[in-house]
């Protein structure tokens, strides 16, 4: 048995930014050979995105890039040059999978689209993922996950109430779409094993993100109801929200609490050493209808408690609760620690830095972060020499011509 689940799978990775590289990261962390093709002529924008080592920007200093590109090899080819495209094509027969995430015309203009590449490898599986898909009037519109999160409806359901819009942090949909693209690629590999047939996959990040909004979309089409922002109010729990706890070291602390049913309500009051004679709060329906009042009431009870200690107390009493953690807290979190989530990897230029681990664990063929992200062009010599049998002189010449660049 091989050590990693996807050992022996070859991935040629033309992708950049978020969704494409996160997709190929699943493969790389599970043992597939993933070669990223980049270029200094048009660097992946994440390479210049924060956070940076010592807060200083630099092409090889971005944790944004590093986190999404673990376990991969990196080479450079300036694909605007015909010679570079020829070299890329020579790598195609090696590739089981090709992934790219440019706006649709780029690969076509370079002659590196599926129709051309499948001639070099007839059973090729190729994924193109861009903002809005390869076809349709807006196919060529560029963008990023932050904007996609607005376009696909997530910003609108984030806020304190009508008229308020407080978006989720970051490029939210970049963390939805890769699971769909990865499943599609792995299923396509299984299909190829059974039938010998490869295929082309067009994944619109818009359409993938929409899967996480399905109930609200179905509801709208059927009834015209528009799901909007409503703070932390829930149709299932009351209280339900974040409640202020005692400050620690001058920083505000909050606890998330969700209470369903009378038993949990009484357990919560007991754990908080409190009682309520407010008749509005006597039944679950009453608590739901008076969510605002209940938030105020619960907030007044939690205010003097330590968030961690209160979590332990409420959980012991059978109530769902957890501190609202910030980015310092999550590195000190006992549960993430027990799962072995954090990894410190040694990067060629950044030295040691913190990486997110995998969100799952496998018993028999566990994946892991096999290496830090490559610095730009890190594996040029090895890949061009060993895979394409270029001599040291040829490689040197191609570097001089800015083909390997």
């Amino acid at each position: 048995m091989s050590r990693f689940a996807l050992e022996g799978v070859h991935v040629l990775d033309f992708a950049w930014v978020g969704v494409g590289p996160i997709t190929t990261k699943y493969f790389a962390d599970n043992g597939a050979d993933v070669i990223r093709i980049e270029s200094a002529a048009r660097p992946d924008v994440l390479r210049i995105g924060p956070p940076w080592k010592d807060a200083m920007p630099g092409i090889n200093r971005s944790q944004f890039f590093a986190s999404f590109n673990t376990s991969k090899k990196g080479i450079t080819l300036d694909l605007s040059k015909p010679k570079a495209r020829e070299l890329a094509k020579r790598m195609v027969p090696w590739a089981d999978l090709i992934v790219e995430s440019f706006t649709p015309k780029a690969m076509r203009n370079w002659g590196l689209d599926y129709e051309n590449l499948r001639e070099l490898r007839p059973d090729l599986i190729m994924l193109s993922t861009c903002m809005q898909g390869q076809t349709g009037p807006n196919a060529l519109y560029p963008g990023f996950g932050q904007l996609m999160a607005a376009l696909s409806g997530f910003y609108y359901i984030s806020g304190y109430g009508p008229g308020s819009c407080t978006p989720p942090y970051g490029a939210y949909t970049d963390f939805i779409a890769p699971r769909f693209s990865t499943c599609a690629l792995l299923a396509a590999l299984d299909y190829r094993r059974r039938t010998g047939q490869g295929q082309y996959i067009d994944m619109s990040q818009y359409e993938a993100a929409m899967q996480n909004l399905a109930p609200a979309l179905i509801d709208y089409f059927a009834s015209g109801r528009v799901l909007g922002p409503r703070g932390n109010a829930s149709p299932r729990y009351a209280p339900h929200g974040a409640y202020r706890c005692a400050d620690e070291d001058g920083n505000e602390r909050w606890i998330a609490i969700a209470v369903a049913g009378d038993e949990q309500w009484r357990a919560m009051l007991t754990a908080l050493a409190a009682d309520s004679t407010d008749r509005r709060f006597a039944t679950a329906d009453g608590r739901m209808e008076n969510a605002g009042a209940i938030d105020e009431f619960v907030g007044s009870l939690t205010r003097l408690h330590n968030a961690q200690e209160l979590t332990a107390k409420l959980q012991a009493a059978g109530v769902a609760a957890y501190p609202v953690e910030n980015c310092v807290d999550i590195h000190q979190d006992d549960n993430l620690e027990a799962f072995g989530f954090w990894h410190w990897l040694e990067h060629k230029e950044m030295g040691p830095s913190p990486y997110e681990g995998l969100e799952h664990r496998m018993s028999r063929t566990p994946g892991t972060l096999r290496s830090a992200a490559p610095i730009l062009g890190q594996d040029n010599d090895e890949v061009f020499r060993e895979m394409l049998s270029l001599s040291a002189d040829e490689i040197e010449q191609l570097k001089k011509e800015n083909v390997i660049f």
Partner: protein
């Protein structure tokens, strides 16, 4: 017709809202997905809101959306017979995904070890709020707990106000997607050696992953972010992400450098055509303007940013979301409407790609419109879906067909409360 892609593979779905999307994805990919639920229905059948506010399982929108394409059998896990049925199904399945409290299925003989003895091929995924070994492994859970534990909540909302969750809870969906990925990864070596394995999905980790590496800020920048409302970045160096317009909000990324400079210049030119903006905005070299979101900003940077953002805000207030988006598309400005489901439903791009899928629901006498497939695949189209099953709708078909139970035996199990 189900997709040919995963034809012949069978998944047993024992999840609740922590993983229902997993089975939905497998169904979209063409696997046979059998939802196993208690005789009175899984808790996911009772999640509000309901279509037309009719509070029954057939109108539960969560169930309509995330059980589509699945079959449903009932099995009462409180009875020996009910457990035996599930064990027998697992013996003939390729995947099993579950999200029960940790250890529960083990305690009734349906844990991985017991099932794998009979079926070593089985890939068995457990979705857990906090993993299987930490102090929180048995914690009570609601979606907001994962949102808080994973760090998203802390960053969502405004300073001085409570941290926020979205109106449509998301953690269970991330976890379901992650379980699907992990099981498909484990499927690959099984094609070689025929052996399955156990997978544990950690929901807290799934939400941390959505933080876009903010986790590294304390170590690399010596600081961490707080809630900044419509701004992105820290209080010292931030950029406004969301602007009001006539009928709602739009979002845009204003920045310089090679990637964003062109977009910023196009935005400024568009404003100029309409009499908005100052001269310096048009002469400034935006390609070399790099005060990033996390970089120190000079007083001059702040002054310019404030004036630009203020101008953009005034300009956007003169138009509707759709008017703004139409221009942004034409001018290639990094911008998007803060779309409602109504905006999405009328979006031309989705229509042009024939995205929306009609799914007849004889259960409620109408046809519902679903988001279409998550990808277009040339050899094996995916996502053709059937309505969510009624509770136990396929008990007869599966138990008689797959387990070859006689009608008499089935009746007995029903009478005994096991089905």
């Amino acid at each position: 017709m189900p997709s040919e892609l995963l034809k012949g593979l069978r998944l047993l779905d024992l999840t609740d809202e922590k993983g229902a999307l997993c089975g939905k994805m497998f169904a979209d990919l063409g696997a046979e997905v059998i939802k196993v639920e208690p005789p009175d229905g899984c808790s996911t059948r009772r999640i509000p809101p309901y279509l037309e506010d009719i509070a029954d399982a057939d109108h539960c929108l969560y169930s309509i959306a995330y059980h589509a394409g699945k079959k449903s059998v009932t099995a009462n896990l409180a009875t020996d017979d009910g457990r035996a049925l599930v064990a027998d199904l697992a013996a003939q399945s390729d995947f099993l995904v579950e999200s029960h409290p940790l250890g529960y299925l083990d305690s009734i003989g349906l844990g991985y070890d017991a099932l794998a003895r009979k079926n070593p091929r089985l890939i068995y995924a457990s979705i857990t709020p906090f993993g299987d070994s930490g102090p929180g492994k048995d914690y009570n859970w609601a979606d907001i707990i994962s949102w808080a534990a994973g760090g998203q909540m802390y960053l969502m909302g405004e300073e001085g106000k409570p941290p926020l969750q979205m109106s449509l809870p998301q953690a269970g969906l991330h976890a379901g997607g992650e379980a699907a990925v992990a099981m498909m990864i484990a499927h690959y070596p099984r094609q070689i050696d025929g052996l399955g394995q156990r997978i544990v999905v950690n929901m807290q980790a799934c939400i941390v992953w959505t933080l876009m590496n903010e986790q590294a800020m304390p170590f690399l920048h010596g600081s961490h972010l707080t809630r900044t409302g419509v701004f992105f970045g820290s209080a010292d160096a931030r950029r406004k992400m969301v602007y009001e317009c006539k009928d709602g909000h739009i979002s845009t990324l204003i920045a310089g450098g090679t990637t964003f400079g062109k977009s910023t210049i196009a935005l400024i030119e568009w404003m100029r055509e309409n009499g908005f903006g100052s001269d310096w905005m048009r002469t400034k070299d935006w390609f070399s303007w790099i005060p990033g979101i996390f970089m120190a900003m000079t007083e001059q940077d702040h002054k310019e940013t404030d004036e630009l953002e203020d101008t953009v805000q005034r300009f956007m207030l003169t138009m509707t979301k759709q008017e703004i988006y139409a221009q942004a598309l034409k001018r290639r400005i990094f911008l998007a409407p803060v779309a409602t489901v109504a905006d999405i439903a009328s979006d031309e791009q989705l229509k042009a790609r024939d995205f929306w899928t009609a799914v007849p629901h004889d259960t409620i006498g109408r046809t519902l419109t679903f988001p279409g497939p998550f990808a277009k695949m040339t050899a094996t189209p995916i996502g053709s879906t059937t309505r969510a099953p009624r509770i136990g709708e396929h008990s007869d078909e599966i138990y008689r067909g797959l387990l070859a139970l006689t009608p008499e035996r089935l009746n007995k199990l029903r009478a005994g409360g096991s089905i």
